[in-house]
Amino acid sequence: MSNLDDLYREIILDHYRSPRNRGELATPPACRAEGFNPLCGDEITVFIQVENDVLVDIKISGHGCSISQSSASLMSAAVKGKTLDQVHQAIATFKQLMTVHEANIDDPEPVAVDIRALGELAALQGVVKFPVRIKCAILAWNTLDQGLQDFVS
């Protein structure tokens, strides 16, 4: 079951069992964005509050598998209190982590990313070996991205 251990790292299970920043924020002042993965039914709502270009608060609600839920929880911990630039940087890095070179679809290798910059998020690295689950891992991030865009406009 060594493969499974790659996917279900202890940190992931921990964030799945005890998700951080769970809940809702009043809108307004906060913004909300919804994301869902029609293929497996994962649904996520991200509430963000931005002040002076800083993401001062973030809450997550919704439901889904351990990967989508833990990714959302890890994300919330990683971006809360960060400047918008830093948040965008984190989104970009995470998406890169989840990129599988199409040429290597049979034997996916993560793209070289600065793992240290990721902190706990690096635990999600094993997901790329399970291409179908990438959609789960990335859902929260796409939703956050969407929320930030809505906020700007």
Partner: protein
Amino acid sequence: MTPFDPVQVRSEIPLLARTVHDRPVIYLDSAATSLTPQRVITAMSTYYQRSHANVHRAVYVTAEEATALYEGGRRDVGLFLGSTHPDEEIVFTKNATEAFNLFAKSWGRANLERGDVVVLSQMEHHANIVPWFQLRDEIGIEIKFLEVTDDFRLDLSRFDELLEGAKLLSITGMSNVLGTINPLRELTQRAHAFGALVLVDASQSAAHGPTDVVDFDVDALICTGHKMLGPTGIGVLWARREILAAMPPFLGGGGMIADVSVDGFTPASGVTKFEAGTPPIAEAAGLGEAVRYLRELGMEAIATYEKGLTDDAIARLAHEFSGRVRIIGPTDGVARGGVLSLDVEGVHPHDVAQVLDQFGVCIRPGHHCAKPLMKRFSLAATARVSFGPYSLQSDTNILIESLHHALELFG
């Protein structure tokens, strides 16, 4: 007839010889698609190797053979479904979904008007829902849903109320999520009393028990090749010939016309009218072989065998997990097929399926294209286990072992 022998069936299915993660494949996803016997694969290969040609309009030998294979497939499928006039009643489509679209849009546009009622059920697959919504958005029909009871049966208490004035009852023979088998004969009789036609979704039931359109007394019925030991790329619409004959064409193109000029076109008659373009020829040859094989195995025998597997699995899941693994569907063994949707305590269906995969166990997580049903039971997804004629009781052993592992990992 020789007694039903699953080991013999298995020996004809190449995929079951395969290993994944160094373990034999335990295929428990027949509700999504059934495994393919070698003879079905060979029927298609042989077509390509010996008789590949386009059908109709040709006089050379291989083209005649191709036509005979295609039309022979139609007759075999007709025989399998109990059609009395297969040449005039069996239409080949690309899958069950196209067949529903064809019926909804061709029969629907010709026979329904604003305000007319079509009755579905809450346990329908999206294939039997979305085309009706599309038609509603186009011409303004009304769609009503028979509900599902807390014990996963069709709720017939409001049947008469819903059917009053309805033009069509379109309903599944067997739920692809709950496993529930609906009482077709009763439904048909009651719907006919209101003057409604009855269209049946036999996608799930066709390969797992006898289908007889005359005996069911239905007006139209749809099934899909890849769930009947046949190939992808082919579906079937059966309808009484008077009904088909009166329906306007659906897709336009070659083959479905009697004449075309720069001013307009005249449709062909017969089933041809609904088969625009080059049809699924290899696929019809494959499906013909698949239904011949199913008939050889005996549909009653398959139903009995799969009922045994299902009853056993229900009992053992209850015994092993005492409530931590819940079955979303009837558990009394009555009027249900071999589809078991599981709700595993604390483990998301996606994760269940992922852990099971490591044991070689193939099941499907998700909403199974039945979102209204999922909403009815406030579920986002289930982990669905489903049997076929090649399944074994020992498959359930490994299923149980791997479910234990999932519960442990997430416990």
